[in-house]
């Protein structure tokens, strides 16, 4: 692995060159006084100094509404599957880890071609965090830095970006970069220092145990009073699901055209906190109480999903759910710490 370097100006030119060549680039831009991933028109709008985006980049990996197939009522159907290449620029390490978890989940068992075909077209340029958001706890979740999973990783070292190009897809993009130089060892040391600092500094909420202990912690937590206590104030609004980079549940719906003969099947984001998420045929809802839905989300993050992907915890500590929850009850750390303190109550 070799690390190279571009001045900030050259990096901007690199981005503009991709755009000029007609590449579709999605990057982080300002939205009022917050940030979001959006279609990039020019490098000038790019804000790699962002703290966190309102929605995670999952909206480009698993869109809110995605056509699956065109159908004829009572007749045949045709899959919709043409995905164009996309460069996803500025993904923070914790969000990258979340995408990698989804890659694993959608490719195991029943291989999801819609997800995987789209995903294969995406080149990810990750970037190290320069400004911690107000609720981040990635350090606690051991997701503050990454050493793989990206196509390119960039680090802001003040006057320049260091680039770690890791894959074929990453190298292919480098043809747009002019003035690429090898990083000096002093630069690489700066980068190391930034990453080392992030490893502990992105920690506005401190998890009271090792991440790897969480699945075991949950084993005895099912009947703990904390679920009822917290969920009393839950609006079942699903905001904590929507903003979460690791929530990937979707609902499938058919939309029929005015001819009443043809239509489109789409999948759209769903959320396990919503009242009717677990309603099945016959109107039976097997998670009717707010508290059972509230509990399900945190069990999913700390136990159910880890069981499927080799123990990785499906909370990457981005802190978005904490900010998004109007009732201020969604913070996973508060709940896990409470369970730690009262391990006998479950």
């Amino acid at each position: 692995m070799s690390v190279s370097k571009l001045s900030k100006e050259q990096f901007g030119q690199f981005v503009d060159a991709m755009l000029a060549a007609g590449r579709r680039v999605v990057g982080v831009v300002a939205k009022d006084d917050r940030f979001q991933f959006d279609e990039l028109k020019s490098a000038a709008a790019l804000r790699l100094d962002y703290d966190v985006t309102i929605l995670p980049p999952k909206k480009y990996v698993l869109p809110q509404v995605e056509p699956l197939l065109q159908f004829e009522v009572g007749g045949g159907a045709q899959s919709v599957m043409n995905y164009d290449p996309l460069v996803l620029l500025g993904v923070h390490p914790y969000d990258l880890i979340a995408i990698r978890q989804m890659d694993e989940l959608f490719s195991q068992g029943e291989y999801d071609r819609h997800y995987m075909d789209r995903r294969k077209q995406i080149t990810i340029i990750a970037c190290d965090v320069v400004r911690p958001s107000k609720n981040i706890f990635a350090s606690s979740m051991e997701t503050a830095v990454v050493s793989d999973g990206y196509d390119i990783l960039i680090t802001d070292i003040g006057d320049a970006y260091l680039l770690d190009v890791a894959t074929e897809k990453g190298h292919a993009l480098m043809t747009y970069a002019k003035g690429l130089a090898a990083a000096a060892s002093a630069d690489v040391e700066k980068r190391q220092a930034i990453q080392e600092a992030n490893r502990t500094a992105l920690n506005k909420h401190k998890l009271g145990c090792k991440v790897s202990y969480l699945p075991r912690l949950m084993e005895k937590a099912y009947n703990h009073p904390v679920w009822q206590e917290k969920a009393r104030l839950c609006f079942s609004c699903g905001s904590c699901n929507q903003v979460c980079p690791t929530c990937y549940c979707f609902d499938v719906q058919d939309q029929v055209n005015w001819d009443l003969k043809t239509g489109e099947r789409v999948r759209c984001w769903d959320g396990c906190l919503l009242e009717n998420f677990a309603t099945v045929a016959g109107n039976h809802n097997f998670r009717k109480d707010r508290s059972s839905r509230f509990r399900h989300r945190l069990f999913r993050k700390a136990k159910y999903v880890p069981e499927k992907i080799g123990g990785q915890i499906a909370c990457v500590g981005c802190g978005r759910c904490i900010t998004a929850c109007v009732a201020d009850i969604a913070n996973p750390v508060t709940v896990y710490n409470r369970l730690m303190e009262e391990r006998t109550l479950g």
């Binding site: 917050r34 609006f235 079942s236 609004c237 009443l260 009242e275 900010t323 009732a327």
Partner: protein, 248 residues
Amino acid sequence: MSKPRVAIFDFACCEGCQLQIVNLEEEILDLINVVDVVEWREAMSEQSHEFDIAIIEGSITRPEDEKRIEIIRSRCKIMIALGACATIGGVNKMKNKFDLEEVKHCVYGKDAHMPHLETGLTKAVHEVVDVDYKIHGCPIDRKEFASVIRALLLGKRPTVPDYPVCVECKAKENICRYEYNEICLGPIIRAGCGARCPSSSFRCFGCRGYVDNPNVEAAREVMDKYGLTVEDLRQKMVLFGCEQGPTV
């Protein structure tokens, strides 16, 4: 198969929801292709007239309106309440907070005693007769109207969201009003409008009515966290939240 006969009736309202149907523009032709729209006055004058779908706009505010809606109900197979006036009583329901005689004099002055101005408590349509489907909003969302009609024509149950506005608001990546310590009714109000108001940096004021199971208790309790009071919340509920179901 003959086309289903559809009749549209208006009661106390601003007719803004009918306007939304007109605003379907080219889609209105698609609509007319698949249904037979019966002019409402004709439909009412001919006693034996029956129709498949009756679309009711407006709320019920006078005794004679109650009779009229009962007749319509007896002649239709499916009744749809169209817009906030019809589904929850709408803005008109504010009247119920005051003494009715006072309201009448305030609005009509010296003509208040005229018999045709007789007024009663404002009711949503389902408070008088059975309603099969509700298309919420002030005004309605025309895309939603179109999809409800298509579903009915296919003999399917239309799906109307039973989750809060926050779902659509988050999907649009809006900054939550509560991040600026402003009240927004989104967490207890039914989605379907595409979070129209928060998407324009304005709070949701509740025109689509409550979700099926709103956590009003929580809405009250969280006020404290934002340096607001339950009285602040009540004021925000006045426009559309008068006397409907659970209340803050």
